[in-house]
Symmetry: C2
DNA sequence: CTCGTAACTGTCAGTTCTTGCAGGAGACGA
DNA sequence: TCGTCTCCTGCAAGAACTGACAGTTACGAG
């Protein structure tokens, strides 16, 4: 096989490039919605939905939904508390690979709530589809789903074809929605910690006491306390546990592969 | 445009399906290496490298490297401390979208260390390429890079073509390496926390004291302490800060979209 | 009905954290 | 040279956490 095996007219490459440009250019939620809506049609699906949660607060994370799903289904979904039963959400929350609904439906046939979930989804016009997970560096989590009113066996080829481009597009959608989102809550994303502060915080996250950290870093316990006090002020939190939670969730401390 | 715009002989779809099967079937690091090596050749690149870090410990994360890079370059890379200067690592650590090296090289032309980095990479046979980031739910972070000895302008088309399949494959590689990795340190990934324990931990991560959490949950301060004590034992950590760090890093507390 | 588990509550002693106060040394840019 | 920033240090009081002992209640599985 040669490098040129792919060359010539590969239609998906063109569509792909166009879509990426479109998503990149989108400046607000509506823009993303339009692009995704178009993609959905062009690759032969009927509905799409993109959802993401940003761990601004661990107890009340910020949720973003860009929906091309039937409104009635979404209402029913929420009312039935399907978020915790939906196997596509479970898959996407725990893995990084896309998942074809057919595979999940087959595996979950025996669980009652799950079986009912698939049955009712079908009644609302969601009979087959595929979901793409996206995880971000700050622990934010999103997923893009494409659905069809056609049954599984009719969509097989379309789903296989959409796998690569779908996953790629999901990453761009995620970045786009993050950019839009970041405009709203930038202050929380700034750390501005000094090296020493980050070191102290890191060892705190490892369960060390101030005294122990002092020994490790060769400074006095008092100085460690001083640095950690500055950390809690900079991150605008009330104690070390919350500082650690925020720093880990936002990726401030995760030994620096980045600059 | 119709759904069938893609149908017929789309060579990348076939390659894609084959590769995914191969990665899925890979049972160890060598297996992943073989598959990736083959992909690399088939899509017209000369070198590949996959790296991932698993936040088992925040201070000393576990690093996994599956390398198809020239050994000399890797040695020089480590010796020069390029991990912190490498703009591809920086991009992948902070974003979810793939990045074409040409774009980064253009942006970083003015920074000294970065300019030297690109120059030396070229001398070792890495003149153009593309990198795909993968983030996982537990904060683990990986990246797959494909590189060529050819200059940017000659690889343009190949890079554009490999974008979708590369990103998809990166997710499967990540899952595969995670599966291999999980075999080694499964105990740390098990939480087994009860609902109440997770609730208490969650509020702790929000900076609440035991007394406050007791008020929030309508139970006594003593009971909260009791639950948190159980949490530190189950997670095998020494205090609440470390429990929070581990729970956030491993995704135990991030209000449950999952079951 | 027994067993295991989750959830809940109490007291007490010792350790650690949090927050005030006050101050010094060195690096760096305006 | 001055101001700012980072890093460092001491003391002290009160709040919060940790660990150990000793229980009760509720519920489902076997």
């Amino acid at each position: 096989m040669t490098t040129m095996g792919y060359s010539g007219s590969d239609p998906s490459a063109t569509v792909c490039a166009e879509m990426i440009e479109a998503v990149r250019a989108a400046e607000d939620v509506d823009g993303i919605h339009r692009v995704c809506s178009r993609l959905c049609r062009e690759v032969g699906f009927d509905h799409f939905i993109y959802g993401a949660q940003f761990p601004v607060s661990l107890v009340r994370p910020r949720i973003v939904i860009i929906s091309g799903y039937p409104a009635e289904w979404r209402e029913h979904y929420d009312a039935s508390g399907y978020l915790t039963a939906d196997p596509t959400v479970h898959h996407c929350a725990t893995r990084s690979t896309p998942v074809v609904w057919r595979d999940l439906a087959a595996a979950g046939r025996r669980r009652q709530k799950e079986a009912r979930f698939w049955g009712e989804a079908g009644e609302y016009g969601l009979r087959s589809g595929v979901s793409f997970p996206i995880h971000g560096k700050s622990g934010e989590f999103g997923m893009l789903s494409l659905a069809s009113t056609e049954p599984h066996f009719k969509m097989d080829a379309a789903i296989r074809r959409v796998l690569p481009i779908g996953q790629l597009l999901a990453t761009y959608m995620h970045e786009a929605s993050r950019a839009v989102f970041d405009q709203e809550c930038l202050p929380i994303r700034y750390d501005g910690l000094t090296t020493r502060e980050r070191e102290c915080l890191l060892w705190t996250a490892e369960g060390k006491t101030a005294w122990e950290i002092g020994n490790i870093l060769g400074i006095s316990e008092r100085t460690v306390v001083f640095h950690l006090k500055n950390v809690t002020e900079k991150l605008n939190v009330t104690n070390r546990a919350q500082a650690v939670a925020r720093a880990v969730a936002c990726g401030y401390i995760q030994p620096r592969l980045s600059r």
